[in-house]
Symmetry: C2
Subunit: 500 residues, 2 copies
C-alpha cells in the first residue's frame, strides 16, 4: 500500500470507530424510550454521557487533522464525487467544525441545552415565557459565538444553517421560502373558501391499536421498509434511529380515535428509515455511507408520507385493505370521502399537528424569527409578540397563550437554531423529486394504484440514497431533477390535490 492508502485507511478506521460508538448510543437512547424500566433513567443518562464522551474524543482526535493534512494532495481528490474525495472532503469539514469550537463553548452549549430543555418543560407548563427567556438569551448569545467561530459567507445564520443543510445559503433559502409564501397563503385561502365537504369525523371512529399496528407494518413493508433490517415500536414521540448498517428502528404512537396519527407517522418514519436502509452498508460510518443533510432526510419521509401516502392512487390500492382491517369504521366509506378526509386543510396553532399545506407557514414563522434573533434584529423579550404577529399574518390565527404559541417547540430551548428550515426544504425537495420521477415513469399514479411501489424506492436509491455525501444537497437535486431549489413543484402538488 502507498502511504496515502495507509493514511486513508487509518482515517476510515477512526471514523468507523466513532460511528460505532454513536450506534451504541443510539441503542441506549432507543431502549430508554421503548423498553427501559421506569426507574433506570438516571443510570442510563450516565451511560449515554460516557459513550458521548468517548465519541467526542474519537471525533476530535488530533491524528485526524494530521491524516487529513497528509491526504491534502491525494490524487483521488481530482474527482470530487469519488469515494476517496467524499470521505476526505467531509471528514475535513466535520473535523474543522469540531476543532474550531473552544471546549469552553462546547461545554456551555451542552449545559445550556440541557437546562434550556428542563426550564422549557416547566415554563411551558406554567405558560410563563419570562421564565424561559433567560435561557433563550444565553442560547442565542452562544449560538452567535458558535457562528463566529465557524465562520460564514454572508451572515451568521449561514453558519448555523450549514450545520444541518451543508452548503445551503440563508439568502437562497429565504428567497425560495418567500416565493412559497407568496403563493401558499392565497392557495390556503382559496382552499378554505371552497366548501369541500370534508367528512372529517370518519377518521375519529374506532381504530383498534393492534389492527393499526398490523396494518401500518404491512403498508410500510409494501412500500419497501425492510423489517429484517429494522423494526417498529411504540414511543411517546415517534422517531427513526439507526444502530448499525442493518438495524434501523422506527417508532409511532397510536390514537384509537384518530387514524392518521399513527398511520402517517409510520409512513413518515419508514421514509426516513428507507433512506437509512438504502445507503451503502459497506460504507457505514463513512461520509460515503452517511445521509447528506437533514433537508434531504426530511424529503424522504415527506415523499412517502405525503406524495405517496396521501394520494388517491395509493389508496386505490390500499383502501380495500384498510376496509378489510377496519370493517366497522371504514366498511361503508367511499374511497373519495376517505381521501378528502386525510387531506383536510385547516390553519392551526400547533406545528406538529398541521396539515401538509399550512405546515410550511409554521416553518416560515420560525425561520424568519430565528434569523432575526441571531442577527440581533429581535430581542428574546419581543419574541412572543413577533410570533403572534406572524401567525396572524400568515395563518390568520393567533395563539391565546405562549404555551401554544412561541413555546410549543423544543428546538430553541435545545439550542437547535438553523434546524427548522430543513423541514420545509424537505417538503420542497420531496415535491421536486416526485415530479421528476413522475415524468420519468410517465405517471406514478398508475403504478401506485396497482400497489407497485418498488420503482419509487428504486428511483430514490439511485438518485439519492446510494450517493451518501458525494454531492451537496443542491448538486443531488440538480442531478436528480435537472432543477435548482424551487417552490413551484410543491405548489403544483398542493394545487393539483386540493383545488383540481
Amino acid at each position: 500500500m502507498t502511504t496515502h492508502d495507509q493514511t486513508f485507511e487509518a482515517l476510515c478506521q477512526q471514523l468507523r470507530k466513532a460511528a460505532q460508538l454513536e450506534s451504541i448510543n443510539s441503542l441506549l437512547n432507543w431502549d430508554e424510550r421503548t423498553y427501559m424500566p421506569s426507574q433506570s433513567g438516571e443510570y442510563r443518562a450516565e451511560q449515554i454521557a460516557t459513550v458521548t464522551s468517548l465519541t467526542h474524543d474519537c471525533r476530535t482526535d488530533r491524528r485526524i487533522g494530521e491524516w487529513l493534512d497528509a491526504l491534502a494532495d491525494h490524487p483521488g481528490l481530482a474527482e470530487p464525487a469519488s469515494d476517496v474525495a467524499t470521505v476526505i472532503r467531509r471528514a475535513r469539514r466535520d473535523y474543522d467544525r469540531h476543532v474550531k469550537l473552544p471546549s469552553r463553548l462546547v461545554e456551555e452549549l451542552a449545559r445550556q441545552s440541557v437546562t434550556g430543555q428542563q426550564v422549557w418543560v416547566e415554563a411551558r407548563k406554567a405558560n410563563d415565557f419570562a421564565k424561559l427567556a433567560p435561557s433563550l438569551e444565553a442560547i442565542v448569545r452562544l449560538k452567535r459565538e458558535q457562528a463566529a467561530c465557524w465562520g460564514y459567507a454572508d451572515c451568521p445564520y449561514d453558519a448555523l444553517l450549514d450545520e444541518y443543510e451543508p452548503d445551503a445559503r440563508t439568502r437562497d433559502v429565504a428567497a425560495t421560502m418567500e416565493g412559497l409564501r407568496a403563493e401558499l397563503v392565497p392557495l390556503v385561502q382559496e382552499v378554505l373558501g371552497r366548501d369541500r365537504g370534508v367528512p372529517r369525523d370518519l377518521l375519529n371512529r374506532h381504530y383498534p391499536q393492534s389492527v393499526q399496528a398490523r396494518f401500518g407494518q404491512e403498508m410500510a413493508a409494501a412500500l419497501g421498509f425492510d423489517f429484517q433490517r429494522g423494526r417498529l415500536d411504540i414511543t411517546h414521540h415517534p422517531f427513526c434511529t439507526e444502530m448499525g448498517p442493518h438495524d434501523c428502528r422506527i417508532t409511532t404512537r397510536y390514537d384509537e380515535r384518530f387514524f392518521p396519527s399513527a398511520f402517517f407517522g409510520i409512513l413518515h418514519e419508514a421514509g426516513h428509515g428507507m433512506y437509512e436502509q438504502g445507503r451503502r452498508p459497506d460504507q457505514y460510518g463513512l461520509p460515503t455511507g452517511q445521509y447528506v443533510s437533514l433537508g434531504i432526510h426530511e424529503s424522504q419521509s415527506r415523499l412517502w408520507e405525503n406524495q405517496v401516502g396521501r394520494s388517491r392512487a395509493f389508496w386505490t390500492h390500499a383502501f380495500p385493505r384498510a376496509q378489510h382491517a377496519f370493517p366497522d369504521s371504514l366498511g361503508s366509506v367511499p374511497l373519495d370521502d376517505f381521501v378528502l378526509a386525510i387531506n383536510d386543510v385547516r390553519p392551526s396553532l400547533i406545528r406538529v399537528e398541521a396539515d401538509e399545506a399550512t405546515y410550511n407557514l409554521h416553518i416560515l414563522v420560525r425561520f424568519e424569527l430565528e434569523q432575526a434573533l441571531i442577527h440581533d434584529e429581535l430581542k428574546v423579550a419581543d419574541l412572543p409578540e413577533a410570533w403572534n404577529a406572524k401567525y396572524k399574518q400568515y395563518l390568520d390565527i393567533e395563539p391565546a397563550t405562549n404555551a401554544e404559541g412561541v413555546m410549543q417547540d423544543i428546538h430553541w430551548p435545545a439550542a437547535l437554531l438553523g434546524y427548522f428550515p430543513t423541514y420545509t426544504l424537505g417538503n420542497l425537495y420531496a415535491a421536486q423529486f416526485f415530479e421528476a420521477m413522475d415524468r420519468e415513469f410517465q405517471g406514478i399514479d398508475r403504478l401506485m394504484a396497482r400497489g407497485e411501489f418498488a420503482p419509487i424506492l428504486e428511483w430514490l436509491r439511485t438518485h439519492v440514497h446510494q450517493h451518501g455525501q458525494a454531492f451537496t444537497p443542491a448538486q443531488l437535486l440538480q442531478r436528480a431533477t435537472g432543477q435548482t431549489l424551487s417552490h413551484a413543484a410543491l405548489i403544483r402538488h398542493l394545487r393539483g390535490k386540493l383545488l383540481s
Copy 2:
C-alpha cells in the same frame, strides 16, 4: 481528604467505569436476543467486541495495581467486612487474576471459546463427537495453563472453581457432592419404586401464551420482583441480566402445551433478578454491590423456583388464581394432583429438563468428568464412554447418541470448566437457607399459603443480598444458617416433599 481516601476514590471510580461499560454490553447482548433485527448480528458482534475491549483496558489498567499497592496499609482493612476492606480485597483478587494471565493466553482462550461453540453447534447437529474433540482438547490444555497461571491450593481444578465460587475448595465440594450422591441415588430409586400416580398429562393441556405471560408476571411480582426496576421478555434461552442498579431484565420461553417450562423458568430468573435488585444500588459496580458467587446466585433462583414455587403451600395461595387464569385446563383439577404433577421425578438424559431431585446427579457426572480432564486422568477421546458409564451408574439410563449425551451442554465448548458444580452448590445453599428461615419464621408454609412472600425476600435481603462480596460464600452460609456446606438440608427437603 487523606491520600488513602483519594486513592480509594480513584479506585472506585475506575471499577464503576468498568461496570458501566459492562452494563452497556449487557444491553447490547439483551437486545441481540430480544428485539434486534435478524440481519444485524454481524455488526452487533463488532459493537460488543469494542465495548469488551474497552472494559478489558479498564479492568487491567496498571493504575489499579498502583492504587491497590498504596492502599495495602489502609486502616479499614482491619475490619474485613467493612466496605473499604471488601472493595480493596476483591479488587485485588480480580486485578491479580487479570494480570496473572499473559495476553496471549487470554486471546487464545477467547478464540477457542468462540470457535468451540461454533464447532459444537455443527458437531451436535451431526452427532459427531470426533469433530468436537480437537476443540475440547485445546480448551482443556488452555484451562490447565490458566490454572497454572492463577495458582491453587490443592489441585489445578481449585483455580478454575475459584473463578466462579471464590474460596471454595474442590476437596470440600467433592466430599459434599459424594455425601449427596450416596443418599440421593437410593432416594430416587425409592421414589420411583412407589406408584405415586402422578397425573402428568394435565401439564400438557392448552395454556395460552398470553395468559401464561400475564400469570407469570403476576406471580413474579407477588414474590417480589420489581417491574419498575426490571422487565420480562421472550428469548429462546431464558436468562437474567442487569444493565444498571435499577435495570434487571429476565426472559423466558413459552410452550403452550407444557405449563412448567415458562412458569418455573420465570420464577427461576426472577429469583436471580431479586438478588440483583436486592443489592445496594449506591454500590453498583463495586464489590460491595456485586454478587458473591455463581453458587449463591443460583441458590436465589432455585429457592424461589423449588423451595417456594414447587411447594404445596405456594399453590394453596396460587392455584385458585391459576384455575381462574386457565379455566379450561385447570378448572376441575384438584390442588393435590397439580402439586404432584409439578413434582414429578424421573431420570432423564437432558440436564436442563431434569426434575429437582435428579438434576444434581447430572451435575455430579459433569463435575467428576471435568476434574478428571483437568487433572489429566481422562482423555477427551474417552469422554463419551466415561459419560455414558456415569449416567448408567447414577441415573440408570444411557444416552443413545453423544448429541443427547456428552455434547448436550455448551459449557465445555465455551471453555467454562469449573462452572457446573455451582448449579448444585446453589441447590444445597437454597435448601440450607430455606431451612434456616423456616426455623426462624416457625414455618414458612403458613405465610406462603396466605400469599405472604415479603418475609422470605426480606430474609434473603438481610442475610444474602445486601452483603455483596463482604463475606465468602462459606461465611455467608455460616452467618445465615449457622452451618457449613452440607447435603442434609436438600435431602430433607426432597424426602419431605417426595416421600412423606
